[in-house]
Symmetry: C2
Subunit: 275 residues, 2 copies
C-alpha cells in the first residue's frame, strides 16, 4: 500500500516529465553497463574545499569514468578545466590547449553522471547567458531538483576561462587568484555545453545554481563558461534523483576548515569575477 | 604511478587505522551481500528539511534495509525515533513503546550503513556524555572524517527522548516543538548506542557532530540520546569514506526553502533543548 504510493509518486513524476517534454524520448535503458545507480550524480572532492585551496588531485580519471560519461571538474593542481563528454575526459589549459587527459592522472574535484536525457528542448535563438538560465528556470520547475544539462549546437559567442596550474602544495584560495584566469572568446562556433543546475542544499559540497563547461565540436577549444550568446541550440535534460560524494583522501583535507563561510567565494569563482 | 600513489594513501590510512587500534579486528569481508558500496553512508531525506518541517515519510523501510544494517532516523510523521541494528529497524514512540517497524511503512529521514568495524576501543568507566565525546575526539583524529559508532554494554544512566507524531501535512519546525518531547531515564541498564560523528561539511544535508539513538538489550526501551553516564562499555568504529543522499520525492520538498539558515535549530533539536 505504502510501497504503491511511493511507486505512484515516481510514476506521476515520470508522467509529468513526459507530458512536459517538447520531444518525448525513447525510454532509458533499464540499467547501465556499470554498477552505478542511474540518474545519480557522483562527486569527487568537496566544492568548498577546492574553492578554499585543496587543489591536489587524489582520484584517477580511469576510476572517474566508472561513475559517469558526462560531467565537469578540475585537474590536479588546477591545471585547466575538465569536461567529460561521451565517456571521454578533456582538459582545457590556460594556454588554450584542449586535449584528452592521461587516464592515470588525477582530479581534485569532479562531478559526473551517466547522461540519459528525459527531455529535449529547442529554445529560441539569440539568448545571452542570463536569458538562457531564465529559459531553463521556466522549464526546470523543482527549485530543489538536480539536473544534468547538455546543450549542443551553434553559438554566436562563447566566452570561457581556464586557470594556470598552482605550485605543489600551494593552497591560495581560488577567489584570490581570479586575476590569473585566462579568458578565451570564440565567435560563430559550434560545440557542446556540459553542466548542471544544482539546488541550494548542495552548496558547499557541490556548487549550487548553473555551472557549464564548453567543448568545441572539433575538440580543440573549451573552458569554464563565463558568457555566451546562443544561435541554434538543442537542450537535453537528465533529471537526477540522488547523489554520492567521495571526499578527498589527502592529509590536507583532514585539516581543512569547512566551518568558514565560502558562499561568496564560490559565486565569484563560478562567475569568473567579484561582480 | 599516480594510481600507485592513491593506493599508497589508502594503504597508509589502513595501516594507521590498524596501528592505532586498541584491538585489531579480522579483515572485513571483501564485499557485502548487497550491491551497496562498503564503508559508505546512505541518507534518505535532507537533515535541514526534517528540522524545517518535512515530516512526511517517502522511503519504505524495506528499501532502506538494502542500504544498511545499522543506523538511525525518523519515522513518517515524526512518530518516535528510529534505530537500525543488525538489520532490524525499531522505533521508540513518545509513549515509550519500542517495537519493530512495519517494513511497508515509510521514513522521512534516515541514515544507514553496513557496519564493519575497523577499530574496537575499551574506554574508562564513568564517562558522562561530554567526557565520552571528548574521549572519542581523541581517537577520531580526522576532523573531516565520517565515522559510524557502535557502543555496547552497561550504563549507569541513559536519558532519551521521543517526539509525538505530527498531524498530516503539519510542518511546524522541529525547534518550535521541543516542548512536546517526552523524556525517558533508564538506570543501570544494558544496551546499544547506534550513531555517527559527521564532519562540518555535512551540516544541512545530515547533522554534523555526534548523534546517537539507544536500544536496550531487551529491545524494549530506546530513543534519541540526550544524556548518559557509562559503566562498562565497548566502542566499535567503522570509518566511512563516501556518502549518498536520496532527497525526498515529495511535493513539499520541491518548494522547501533551503536558503534559510537552520544551523542553530539543528543543534537545539539534537541536544533536546535550546541550551
Amino acid at each position: 500500500m505504502r510501497i504503491n504510493s511511493l511507486i505512484s509518486v515516481y510514476s506521476l513524476a515520470a508522467a509529468f516529465i513526459l507530458i512536459s517534454s517538447s520531444v518525448t524520448l525513447a525510454a532509458s535503458p533499464a540499467s547501465d553497463p556499470t554498477d552505478s545507480i542511474p540518474h545519480s550524480l557522483f562527486t569527487v572532492g568537496i566544492g568548498g574545499g577546492l574553492i578554499g585551496g585543496l587543489y591536489d588531485g587524489f582520484y584517477p580519471y580511469e576510476l572517474l569514468k566508472k561513475h559517469g560519461d558526462f560531467g565537469l571538474g578540475a585537474p590536479d593542481k588546477l591545471d585547466g578545466e575538465l569536461l567529460v563528454f561521451k565517456g571521454e575526459i578533456y582538459k582545457t589549459q590556460h594556454t588554450g590547449k584542449t586535449s584528452l587527459v592521461n587516464e592515470h592522472e588525477l582530479t581534485s574535484f569532479a562531478m559526473v553522471n551517466f547522461f540519459r536525457a528525459d527531455r529535449r528542448l529547442a529554445p529560441p535563438k539569440g539568448l545571452n547567458k542570463g536569458a538562457l538560465f531564465h529559459y531553463l528556470d521556466s522549464v526546470l520547475t523543482n527549485v530543489n531538483g538536480m539536473y544534468a544539462i547538455h546543450i549542443s549546437g551553434k553559438f554566436k559567442t562563447v566566452k570561457t576561462r581556464a586557470f594556470p596550474p598552482v605550485k605543489a602544495h600551494q593552497h591560495t584560495p581560488l577567489a584570490e587568484m581570479l586575476n590569473l584566469q585566462k579568458f578565451f572568446e570564440y565567435k560563430n562556433c559550434e560545440g557542446d555545453l556540459i553542466g548542471y543546475r544544482l539546488p541550494p542544499f548542495m552548496d558547499n559540497t557541490n556548487i549550487s545554481g548553473y555551472h557549464f563547461h564548453y567543448l568545441s565540436t572539433q575538440k580543440d577549444n573549451g573552458g569554464h563558461i563565463i558568457d555566451l550568446l546562443t544561435d541554434d541550440i538543442v537542450i537535453e535534460i537528465d533529471t537526477l534523483n540522488s547523489y554520492t560524494i567521495q571526499p578527498p583522501a589527502t592529509k590536507d583535507f583532514e585539516h581543512f576548515d569547512f566551518k568558514k563561510n565560502r558562499e561568496e567565494d564560490i559565486k565569484s569563482v563560478e562567475r569568473g569575477g567579484k561582480n
